[in-house]
Amino acid sequence: MNDLTVRERPEAWHPVPADDQERRLLDVAESALSEAGRMGTSAAEVSLSHSSGISVNVRNGEVETVEHNRDKSLGVTVYFGHRSGHASTTDFSRDAVVACVGAAGRIARYTEEDPFSGLADPELLAREMPDLDLYHPWEVDMDTAIDIARRCEQAALSADDRISNTEGGGLSSHHGAALYANSTGFHGLSRTSNHSISCCAIAGSGDAMQRDYWYDKQRDRRKLMDPEAVGEETARRILRRLDARQPGTMSCPVVFEAPVASSLLSHLAGAISGAALYRKTSFLTDSLGTELFRPFVRIHEQPLLPGAAGSASFDGEGVATRTRDIVREGVLDSYLLDSYSARKLGMESTGNAGGVHNLTLESTAGGGLEALLAQMNHGLLVTELIGFGVNQVTGDYSRGAFGFLVEGGEIASPVQEMTIAGNLRDMFLALEAVGSDTDTRRNLRTGSILIGNMTVAGG
């Protein structure tokens, strides 16, 4: 424990000033676009980013890893009419940029005419780029980072004698910028930072070991949970899992605890995304205007939420994002489209090139997890999911789960080695309540979710 102090600083690992980095992004973008113009392309677009930061992990009080990250990338798409090609590189040298644009051009000569390809409709491009409070860089020094990670782990280890082992406490802090520009003259720059504290530990021994973790992630480090609180929450989550057994096979209601409930939103987002819709690889093909949920359900996108994980004023093609309802009174009101899929479907881009922006399932219950468990009375609480048993074409759902049997509205006993299964279409219609315990760490925001009935297989 005593030899942790780092006495020597890395001499030459100074961060490059943010302004210089951004100027470089603009220069490289400019040079890539003008190279594309020289090649005779009819249009071109570029996406660039740079980021830097540090990740440390402390295990058993000792530094385990210190990683210094510094990344950058350039992606170029060129168009010759309706043929397109894409290339990318991490090398910003003049020669590499020219080679990258050339490679995109070479690809474009062999792809086929596609009348739906092309830049976003200029009418839809973002005109306003408000400050969304996403950039709070933190030049954390290694000693401080290590100290925070150590305190976090220590809180978990000292919480209870049954905590027997650890994967460690971690701190990571990164910041950078991303630039999108195209040959119509549009360019948009966004600066972001992300800081996280995490902990993963183990209780029990031999066949009865259980592992769990907790983390917090924020744009602004001052909003991070205390490292001790992250460690304590980790310990609480592990200890409650001890002595888990198989629950048996049955049909019952299921509560998804908020951190895993967001996976249901993710399945919805995947199924109403443009690419899945025009390819007919979604179980929600042609379902606009249909009732997917009961009337009390509202799901909306909040791209301009200050300081949030998924906030952005423009998408990956420069299209202005929109605050809007996706599901209103249970009815699917909007798809998630980029320019290409919108044209394929005869619609307009919804500003979702690159994904959703704070997709939010509004709470319906008067309380958090406890209120949902009370409402469920008897059933299963799911706290962790594993595996890939979700078929987007059919909506068939069967995943491995860990959690607790709930009796009389109270957590009764931990269970594991089980699957929960159903079909997403049925599960959405059986959504009975959403807790107020919204998990705001991710781009998909929801509280715990109660689904009226699923099949549990577990021995």
């Binding site: 890893t65 590189t89 888990a244 995943r399």
Partner: protein, 482 residues
């Protein structure tokens, strides 16, 4: 091997004029007192992919990535930095950052590096991107798509993807070992959607390995993937809901070996066992499977997707027996975990790229053939599930619980394969599941070369394989409660 080193130096060092002395000096700079081990990992990767959907080859992508990762290890501590510029100053810069985990001060020594030779490459050091012309690549996609559509009118969507990677790596270690590898990797995948009476189902197939893209044109391979994908989608159109609960499960040969990857493979990786976080920790010499089970991790099969002439720490690829006749024999190790556990490195030190830290990873993990005829195995089951293809799986290595989800499965009733079933996810306990293997087939197959394994955010190509096997009891996660 010397030839590989020359090839690697040409593409990695020559452009910026790096020479061996720069490497020696950098390693010397990292090896301050307290640092036990260091390595430099140079990489130059070119990646190209083409995709077709809706009848059009509408997009292609080409990517170049290069850089150097610098790692210093002091006991259980690791310092790591990387740069996407392969230059002398960038190397020294990263070295200074990486070695800051140790407390010693800088010195001006140098580490003499020697080339590792005498290794036989397991694949040709070719550039797979150049093995077909661009027109031929586009034709390959189009022809594959057309065949899939012609096979059955119910096919409403065909997606075909072709990808190739040309990866050149060079590792220089503080113990003086220097080794290099040029790794081609290609993959072709076909996914189809079939529709009947308003119901849609998918099917997919594909393959690849460490060779050129022209491999897909030989032996009708691309066409075979199209046929397999269409057949699977049509089978699934007839599938009914899977049962829920415990029953006997027969897994077909080849890709179902994903069971081994999830149930035991990850749990036998050295890092988890050094830390005591795996359900298999401290169990070497114990019985973890029935006597019929012998499982290996074999990175030495020529041209396979998971094979490596050298691993990402310069260690030659090896064939390691993990479980022999049911007894746990050995863990998979990288340099650091082998040293800390007093075991030997097994050629399993792998990393996604220069910007990621190496760790113990699988290569090609499979079970050796047994004695039983596959027909005999199916005939032995009164009521159960026969699963022949899978999408993917995941494991919690600490509790040992794993899942994997079938993309093609059937009921077995009275010793005969009957209706196709859908939504089959299997869940079990790693240290237990192989003890319930009562029959192992004589039909060992390896998968077709499409597997990618994810661990701690890093993806690496892997292979799996197995013969047909019967597991007496496994939890089947369907929706139909009997």
């Amino acid at each position: 091997m010397t030839e590989l080193i020359q090839l690697a130096q040409q593409s990695l060092w020559q452009p910026t004029g790096l020479v061996e002395q720069d490497i020696s000096r950098t390693l010397g700079r990292i090896m301050v007192p307290g640092v036990d081990y260091a390595d430099l990992y140079f990489q130059y990767t070119r990646h190209e992919s083409w995709s077709l959907d809706e009848g059009t080859v509408k997009s292609g992508n080409y990517n170049i990535d290069q850089g150097v990762g610098v790692r210093a290890v002091a006991g259980e501590k690791t310092g790591f930095a990387y740069s996407d510029e392969i230059t002398g100053p960038a190397l020294l810069d990263a070295a200074g950052a990486a070695r800051a985990i140790a407390t010693g001060s800088s010195r001006s020594g140098a580490v003499a590096v020697r080339r590792k030779d005498g290794l036989t490459p397991l694949y040709q050091p070719l550039d797979p991107l150049d093995t077909l012309t661009e027109s031929a690549k586009v034709d390959l996609l189009r022809n594959t798509e057309q065949l899939a559509r012609e096979l059955d009118p119910r096919v409403i969507q065909v997606m075909v993807g072709l990808a190739g990677v040309h990866d050149t790596v060079l590792v220089a270690r503080s113990d003086g070992v220097m080794a290099a590898d040029v790794r081609p990797l290609v993959r072709l995948s076909v996914t189809v959607v079939a529709e009947q009476d308003g119901r849609r189902e998918r099917g997919s197939a594909g393959g690849g390995g460490r060779f050129g893209m022209d491999w897909f044109l030989e032996a009708d391979r691309a066409a075979e993937y199209a046929r397999m994908a269409v057949r699977q989608a049509l089978v699934n159109l007839e599938a009914r809901d899977a049962p829920a609960g415990d029953m006997a499960v027969v897994l077909g040969p080849g890709w179902p070996g994903i069971l081994l990857h999830e149930a035991i493979g990850h749990g036998l990786e050295g890092d988890f066992n050094r830390k005591g976080t795996s359900a298999f920790s401290g169990r070497i010499g114990e019985r973890v499977a029935s006597e019929q089970c012998t499982v290996v991790d074999d990175g030495t099969i020529p041209d396979r997707r998971g094979s490596m002439t050298i691993d990402d720490e310069g260690e030659p690829g090896q064939n390691t027996v993990l479980i022999e006749n049911g007894i746990l024999k050995e863990y998979m190790q990288d340099q650091m975990n082998a040293r800390l556990m007093g075991m030997r490195p097994t050629g399993n030190g792998r990393r996604e790229s220069y910007a990621h830290l190496p760790m113990p990873r699988m290569t090609n993990t499979y079970m050796l053939a047994g004695e039983h005829d596959p027909g005999e195995i199916i005939a032995s089951v009164d009521k159960g599930v026969y699963a022949v293809n899978f999408d993917g799986g995941q494991v919690d290595i600490t509790s040992g619980k794993f899942v994997f989800s079938a993309s093609e499965a059937y009921l077995i009733e009275n010793g005969r394969v009957t209706s196709p079933i859908k939504g089959v996810t299997l869940i079990g306990n790693g240290p237990e599941v192989l003890t319930r293997v009562s029959m192992v087939g004589n039909d060992l197959e390896l998968d077709t070369g499409v597997g990618t394994c994810g661990k701690e955010g890093q993806s690496v190509p892997v292979g799996v394989g197995q013969p047909t096997m019967r597991i007496d009891r496994l939890t089947v996660g369907g929706v139909a409660v009997s």
